[in-house]
Amino acid sequence: MIILNKESMSIIREIDVIPMRHRLKEYAVKIGMSLVNQTKIMTAASELARNMLKYANGGKVNIEVISKGRENGLRLTFIDHGPGIENIELALKDGYSTGKSLGLGLPGTKRLVSEFAIDSKVGEGTIVTVTKWKNG
């Protein structure tokens, strides 16, 4: 896998998600991603950014344009230094939420992307990596 481009943005305030979405849109259009997939990755990113803001007071996102074989895609890494997730399995279940939300954030995001990985240590923070392939 080759990384064609890499950029980092910080998500500190709610309004920071807007430039992030615009940036994603730009990259997605550049690699020729379909509109449905563009919408999916932007929605997924929006969910993950909200999680960071809500549970960890913000963090940062790395946006990478990647290429594997003939396929191009976008890989997003959300990194925060919040409280971490105690029970990842539970957090990935539909309808489970420690806050007041619907509990769709993580499980819903997982359905919208091609690849999903989460790494969390209680007291240290959480790293969520999602990849959306152009045709995936």
Binding site: E14, I15, V17, I18, R21, K25, L35, V36, Q38, T39, K40, M42, T43, S46, E47, R50, D94, S101, L102, L104, G105, P107, G108, T109, R111, L112
Partner: protein
């Protein structure tokens, strides 16, 4: 602070969302709309989301809330112009927006809204005239 304008057309309210939504803005719209329904004794609300390119779980929930709240206040809500990619993403996310009336575009939405508002009024009138009707 940024606000989404609410237009009044007789006993109907019209909202066209032309900006990028973020959480605070959606929450403000929810509060403003409910206030406005009450103040204007509105019977119907039409929300045009044709230029909204992403709706995630939070904004979806707000749309659902608006529909539920306006129903309690005796007003109908219709969401019009959802982009196909947004509809696909919402369903995959796990938020099918049950209970929210929708129409393809503003014109059809207005038609539907007027029809529903007038049938409701007729029903009210008939109920009031009810007993006399039975005798004749």
């Amino acid at each position: 602070m940024e606000k989404i304008p609410i237009l009044r057309m007789g006993d109907l309210l019209l909202v066209t969302i032309q900006v990028d939504l973020y959480d605070r803005l959606a929450e403000t719209l929810e509060a403003d709309l409910v206030q406005m329904i009450n103040k204007a004794s509105a019977k119907g609300v039409l929300i045009d989301i044709s230029s909204v390119s992403i709706i995630d779980s939070f904004m979806g929930r707000i749309i659902g809330n608006i529909a539920t709240m306006s129903k309690i206040l005796d007003a109908e809500t219709i969401v019009v112009g959802m982009q196909p990619a947004v509809a696909i993403t919402l369903v995959e996310l796990g938020l099918p927006l049950n209970g929210v009336l929708s129409a393809l575009n503003v014109e059809k939405g207005m038609e539907l809204l007027r029809k529903r508002v007038s049938t409701k009024e007729n029903n009210h009138m008939q109920r009031r005239r009810g007993p006399q009707h039975d005798h004749s």
